[in-house]
Every structure is written in structure tokens, then in C-alpha cells.
Subunit: 500 residues, 2 copies
């Protein structure tokens, strides 16, 4: 191997080791850490993150990248080595733009803001976090301004998570989508509401867990390279390509919570477990953007896990595990898990209204960053937009402006668009897969997922971050991001359920 | 605060953060990590350990220590700050003696040797590890030779874990002890064997766990600053003074395994949880020697947990949880859990014969290091010594020379003497506590442990590594290490059980 590339890889692996250790410290904090460990854990995370940042922004990495340039240029365009150098250079240039001093200041502030939020939300105490959020907004602007030359101040922040997207391009997509969704939601609202009362019951956690884990094992989630634990908020995390873990939460009165969160996080994990083994411990060994990542969680959760074909095969097994479902028909179950209703909480929202929740947040983020909305006016703006877009308003801030962690544990800007981009892409990718393999829906109806999983792995997962999201979408679908497959999917599915 | 001391503490905290992260990676590897995570985990641990060593041996720490010398000398002898500087200097001087290159070579070799042992032991395959052990012996000698001026080549290695002890001083203590133990074991062997058949039964793991955890909670183990998980080999580990964890293993056919391993590891954990909070993230925040650490695990496991008084209170509760014990009297139970017999496995040995197992290993270590015993002759030497000292010999190497991990996961030399020093100290410290508080045995008989725990915390735990073991023993007992209390304890207890 090119000696400079070898040295670069050695250095990147060390950075990755620190980042992986940091991820494990986070995972442990969320799963098993006793309360007494919290104080030191914060300090340990801060030390690891600081060291990882220092090691990555070391100028020796910059000079290695410079020295590798001629060799990189001599490689074929689809070379893995060229991609490694290209992606590393992009990440390195981004990282050195941000002074370590600022990184430390931001991390410390966000840890305070997050801690305050965990207490303010249950207490419905907006005033407690308001000044902290003002500081977060200021720091978010400061961060964006390390990347001058943008069209909109949110652009650098959006670009961090969804490379190649800007405020304007997201706005265009969202406006198209909105013009389709609003009348669809309206039409559904005119139809009789779906009855979900019959789904009430008592569903022991262990049985829920066993059922959900059996499903994701058949999806292709490899438990010898992962595991599932319980946390208050479900997430996926990775310590190496051989150790990709997910978490879930359970509600013994509601079957849907554990089940669909498991399918969702397993979708993220299938992506990471499917990455080319040779990318281990390099910047290529991760999903390419938040939108593409979310496309996989939503594909497995919704396009597979909330489909009629899927439940044709799985429902008898579910009824077997939970005999109270014997009185609920497959049809009733299918309609209940796909009920559309205007609701307050994003994470509980159905497929049709979900994106309206995202758009509200996206627009508010832009307004805050632009300065056209003041932090102190945010709760009221939140209520007004919910009233306008969804026809309901939260009785308090707990289920309003305080409901999502994102602005309290991270910067303002770039946090939400990926969810909707992911929904759009889930349908776009699924469409491609079924065009190539028209037998996929029938296979899902027989509880077989290998064709779908293999197609996704070969076309998306294995590439890790080799291609940016726009490049990947082009390579996989032959065109750019499009709302059409998603709208067609919603119209078809919900048209049938609601008899539109 | 003295600015140099502040800077020293900041640097030490960062080293500690890396070491704590490394400890968590180990804990996760032993508890929850899926098999696919193993390869990357080895690399991650190696990176963290190397960085911690580099940061600690940084010459800036040396110059800070030099600059702090005059101020340190001006402080009172029992000052915490003076102790911090003194102990840091000792550790730093030790660390810089060993080249990083050697550290890396040793770590890599031991990880190979350990891996080979995990497979060789079940396969009873001595030949597989023999060449690796030869290399370990060579590296152990090389390590010792970074500390020239010793009387015996084992001295530096013994000093690492039991500061202030040497091969000669350990030999003297062991010879005295041996001269007392051999006739005691002989006398017991002449008495009728204790019947343990009646203890057979089926004991569900969850009930065993609940009982054991209830006991250690009453000992004073704080579950808000720790937790217990299951591992193949029980251990105690610490990520901060607020997060001190223990592990255990269970055997549903044998009540003693989980119970006594829990009490043992809880003893180690009580020591760490009891350390002065102000020592957090410094070299003072840990037990002072392997002998003193083991004194606490053995004190709670044996002097408390295998005492007659303890079971007078606890046995009815145990019978309540496991009704099959209704047919076993307290007297029968007490005699069964204290049965003395010559056996093959150190970790299963009773209090009387246990130290003979340790002495065999200690003598063999010295012979290997001296070169008077060759690695290839070790299995035979092991068998011969077991025949001579315990009158039995293992039918194979699995339960002979391959039984302990120590020489395969660590160096040869210094690995075993701490177990026996700990037994001796457990009785010596317990004697002091009961001299000051003669009510302790009665309290134990009522299930009350606060007086004992408080005395241990005030006199031993809180000091962490402020005093070396010899200093601590002198301060607590008013004299040096002595075998007398331990021998008196064994004679009294086993004289009564066996009617000697």
C-alpha cells in the first residue's frame, strides 16, 4: 500500500478508536450506568471528544492528504482509496475550520442545556431553558459563520448532516411535498376515524421483545454483531462494523411502541452492519447522510413493517403470542397501525402527517437563525404553526416546543430536514428495488426479506460514506431526489385504507 | 490552589479519563459485547492504553513534580496534597522506567497469550501455551530489569502490586504461615468429613441474585454508585468513585458460587466506594495494594460471610427463599460452607487450605524467574508440589498448571502473593475493629453491619492510596503485618467446627 495512505489509515483508526470509546460511554450512560457515574462520565466524554478532535485536526493529516493528492488523482473515479482520501479531506477541512476552543465551549454549553431540558420538559418549564436556547442560537450562528460564503446561514448546518443540501433546496422540496400532503390529510380527515380501542390490552414486555427481535433477525439484523437493550429514548449506535447496537423502550399497554421502534432502529443498524468490511475504522465506515440513514429506518419500519403484505404473514404469529388479538382481525390491525390523525407528537405521528411536523420545525429553525423569530417568541410561534398546519395546539410546552431533544442537545439548524428527506428516499429506493425485483412484495408476504436486504446492501449499505447522498441517489435511482414515489406510495396506501 | 498542583491535577484527570474509558471497554467486553465486536475492541483498548501511558509519562508531569517539591516539603506529613504529589511521583518514576516500545510489545504479547489460554485450557492443551509462556517469562525478566538494584529478580514485580514487599519478606511470612497451616490441615484431615450432599438442589438464579444483593446492600454497597452483572469470571471494576461495579456468575445447582463471589467482589467494591471523594481522578483514588484490597474482599466474604453469627441471622431468610433448605439445619449449613478439604482448584479452596495453593504458585514463580525451573518442566513441577503439599494431583493440566489466568494475561512474578497477604490482613484488620467495637460480632448476628463498615471506611477505605500498605497497616494496627490474628482465627473457628 502507498506508505502515506498506510500512515493516514493508522491515524484515522486511532481517531476512530477514541470516537468508538466515546460512543460506548454514551451507550452505557443510557443503558446501565448507575446515577452516581454521571458527573465523571461527562468529564470522560469531554476528554475523549477533545482528544479525538485534536488528533483528527493534527496538521500531519493535512500534509498527508496533500502528499496523497497526485496519487489520488491517478486512481479510477470509483476507487475506494480515492474515496477515502476525498472524504477524509472534506471532513478534515470542515474540522479545522472550527477552533478547538469553540468546540469545547459548544460541547460544554450543550451538556448544560441538555441536562436542563431533561428536567424542564417534565416540569413544563420553558423559562428555564429559554436563556440556554438563546445561547445555543448564538453558538449555532457562530458555528455557521466559520463557513462563510453561504446563501443562507442554515446552509453549513444543513450540509453537516445532509451533504449537498441547502436551505433553499430543502425549501423547494418541502413546498412541493406540502402542496400534496395538505389536501391528502384534509381528505382523510373527512373520512370516518379508525377504531383503535380494540388494540388495548396487556402485552408482557418479554414477549414483545422476543417477537420484535425475531422479525429483525429475519430482516437480516445480525445479533452476533449487535444487541438490543432498553433506554428511555431508542437509538442506534456503533462501536465497530462488528458491533452495531440498537435500543428500544416498551409499553405493556401498547404493542406498537416497542415493535415499531425496534424495526426503525434495526433499519439504521442494517445500514451500518452492511458497510464494506474494508472501510472499518475510516471515515467511510458510516452512513452517508442523515437523510439516507433515515430512509433505511423508515423503509424497514413503514414500507415493510406497516405494509399489508408483511402482516399477512406476521399477524397470525402475533395473535399467537398475544391471544387478546384473536378478537382483532388482520384488517382491523392493519388499519389501526396506519391510522392517520392530526396529533401533537412528531415521533408518534403517522406516515401522512409526520412530515408536517418536520416542516414546522425546519421553518422555525430557519426563522430563528435568520433573526426573524426571537427565542422568547418560539413557544407561541410553535403553537400558531401547529394550529395552522395540523389544526391542533398543545395545551402546554411539554408537548409543544419542549418535545424534541434536538435543539437542547445540539445546535439549531440542520437537525430535522433529514427525517423528511429520509421518508422521501425510503419510497424512492423501495421503488427501485421492486422494479428490479418485482417479487419483493410477495416475498414480504411470505416473511422473506433476503432479496430486499441484499439489494439494499449491494446498492446502498456497502458503500458507507463513499458517495455523498446526491451521488448515491443518482447512482441508485438514475435521477435526483424526488417526492413522486413517496406521494404515489401514500396515495395508493391511504387511498385504499380510507377509500379516497 | 497552588497553580502547578492545579495543572498536575488536570493532567492526571485526563489520564484517568482514558483509563476509566478503557475499564468500561473491558467491562463491556466481559458483559454485553457481541462476539463480532472483539477484533475492534482489542485495537480500541490498545489505543486508549497507549495514549494514557503517553500522557502520563509526558515530561511536563516530571517538571511539575520537580517544581512542586519545595511546596510539598513544606506541607504537614499527613497532607492530602503532599500524598498526591508523593504517590504521583512514585508512579511516574515507575512508568518512565519502562519504554513505551516495551509496553506495547508486552501488551500485544499478553493479548495473544490470553487468547491462546482461553482455548488451551478447555482443550487441556499445555503445548499450545508453552512457547507463549516462555516468551512471557522472558518479557517478565526484561520488565524487572528496568528496575535494577534488586535483591531478587521478582522484587520489582512484587513491588508493583504490593509496595514495600520483596521476595525475601514474602518468603519469611509464608514460611511461618506454612509451619502453622500444614499441621492444622493434617489434624482436620484426621476428623470425619463434613457432609455436603444435603445442600444439593435447584436454586433459580434470580432468587439467588436477589438474596445476595440484599446482603451486600446491607453491608453498605451503594447501588446508586454501582451495579452487578454476570460474567464468566467475577470481578470488580471502577469507572469513577461514583461508579464501582461488580460481576458474578451463577450455578443453579450450587448456592455457594454466586453468593460468595458476590460477597467477595462487594468487599473490593466497598473499599473503592469508600475512598475520599476529593481524591477522584487522581492516583490516590484506588486501593493501596493488592494485599490490602484482597483483605477487604476476604473480610466480607469469609470473616463476615462465612461466620456463624452472620448465618444465625441470615439463614432463616435463605431457607425462606429456597424451601429445600428447610431440611438442612443451620449447623449443617454452617459446617458445609466451611468444609475443609484438600482440593485442586484455588478459587474453590476453603480458608484453611487456600494459602497452600498460593504458596505453590509463588514458589514456582520465583523458580521460573530465577531460572532454576524451565517452563517446559512447569506442569510436572506443579503436579509434584500439589502431591507434596496437598496430597493430590490433577489428572490433567486443565485443573493443574492451566487453571489460573494470571500468567497468561499478565507477567510471571507478583501475581499471587497478594491473595495470602490479604487473608492475613483480613483477620488483622477485623481484630482491630472488634477490639475497638466489641459489639461487632453481636451486630453481625442481628444483620447489622454499619459499625464494622464505618470503622473500615474511616480507617482504611477513605485513605485510598494515600499510604502504602506497610504505612497503612502500621497506622491501623499499631504494628507490622502479622500472621498471628489469622492463625488464631483459623484455630478458633476450625477447632470448633472439627472438634480439635
Amino acid at each position: 500500500m502507498e506508505p502515506n495512505l498506510q500512515e493516514l489509515k493508522t491515524r484515522l483508526a486511532q481517531v476512530n478508536d477514541l470516537q468508538s470509546a466515546s460512543a460506548l460511554l454514551h451507550w452505557d450512560q443510557a443503558t446501565y450506568m448507575p446515577p452516581g457515574g454521571a458527573e465523571a462520565r461527562g468529564r470522560q466524554l469531554s476528554t475523549l471528544n477533545r482528544l479525538a478532535h485534536e488528533m483528527f485536526t493534527n496538521e500531519k493529516i493535512g500534509s498527508l492528504l496533500d502528499e496523497l493528492k497526485p496519487w489520488e488523482d491517478s486512481l479510477p473515479a470509483d476507487s475506494d482509496d480515492a474515496a477515502l482520501i476525498r472524504v477524509t479531506r472534506r471532513e478534515w477541512q470542515r474540522a479545522i475550520q472550527v477552533p478547538s476552543e469553540f468546540e469545547a465551549r459548544l460541547t460544554d454549553h450543550l451538556s448544560v442545556a441538555y441536562q436542563a431540558w431533561t428536567e424542564a420538559r417534565p416540569d413544563n418549564d420553558w423559562k428555564r431553558v429559554e436563556p440556554l436556547l438563546e445561547k445555543t442560537l448564538e453558538l449555532s450562528r457562530e458555528l455557521a459563520n466559520f463557513f462563510p460564503g453561504y446563501d443562507h446561514i442554515a446552509d453549513p448546518l444543513i450540509n453537516f448532516s445532509d451533504e449537498g443540501m441547502k436551505a433553499e433546496s430543502v425549501k423547494v422540496v418541502f413546498a412541493q411535498l406540502r402542496s400534496e400532503l395538505v389536501p391528502l390529510v384534509e381528505a382523510i380527515a373527512q373520512r370516518p376515524a379508525v377504531d383503535v380501542e380494540k388494540l388495548n390490552g396487556h402485552f408482557p414486555e418479554a414477549a414483545q421483545m422476543a417477537f420484535a427481535e425475531d422479525v429483525i433477525k429475519r430482516f437480516g439484523y445480525d445479533f452476533t454483531r449487535g444487541r438490543q437493550d432498553k433506554t428511555p429514548h431508542p437509538f442506534m449506535t456503533k462501536f465497530s462494523l462488528g458491533d452495531v447496537r440498537i435500543t428500544t423502550r416498551s409499553n405493556e399497554a401498547d404493542l406498537q411502541e416497542l415493535l415499531f421502534s425496534t424495526l426503525h432502529e434495526a433499519g439504521h443498524a442494517l445500514y451500518e452492519q452492511g458497510i464494506e468490511g474494508g472501510y472499518e475504522a475510516t471515515p467511510l465506515a458510516g452512513g452517508t447522510s442523515s437523510g439516507v440513514h433515515e430512509s433505511q429506518s423508515r423503509l424497514w419500519e413503514n414500507l415493510v413493517g406497516r405494509s399489508c403484505a408483511f402482516w399477512q404473514h406476521e399477524y397470525p404469529a402475533l395473535q399467537n403470542v398475544f391471544p387478546s388479538l384473536q378478537s382483532v382481525s388482520l384488517e382491523e390491525w392493519y388499519r389501526a397501525i396506519n391510522r392517520v390523525q392530526r396529533s401533537l407528537i412528531r415521533t408518534d405521528a403517522d406516515e401522512v402527517t409526520y412530515n408536517l411536523h418536520v416542516m414546522i420545525r425546519f421553518d422555525l429553525e430557519l426563522a430563528l437563525l435568520e433573526g426573524t423569530l426571537a427565542v422568547r417568541d418560539l413557544p407561541e410561534a410553535w403553537r400558531a404553526r401547529y394550529q395552522e398546519d395540523l389544526g391542533i395546539a398543545a395545551p402546554d410546552d411539554r408537548d409543544g416546543v419542549l418535545q424534541d431533544v434536538h435543539w437542547f442537545g445540539g445546535t439549531i439548524g440542520g437537525a430535522f430536514q433529514g427525517y423528511t428527506l429520509g421518508n422521501l428516499l425510503s419510497a424512492q429506493f423501495f421503488d427501485c428495488a421492486t422494479r428490479v425485483h418485482p417479487e419483493i412484495p410477495q416475498q414480504i408476504g411470505r416473511g422473506e426479506f433476503a432479496t430486499l436486504h441484499n439489494w439494499l446492501r449491494d446498492n446502498i449499505y456497502r458503500h458507507g460514506s463513499k458517495w455523498t447522498a446526491p451521488e448515491l441517489i443518482e447512482r441508485v435511482t438514475g435521477g435526483p431526489l424526488s417526492i413522486k414515489p413517496y406521494i404515489a406510495y401514500l396515495r395508493r396506501k391511504y387511498g385504499e385504507i380510507y377509500g379516497l
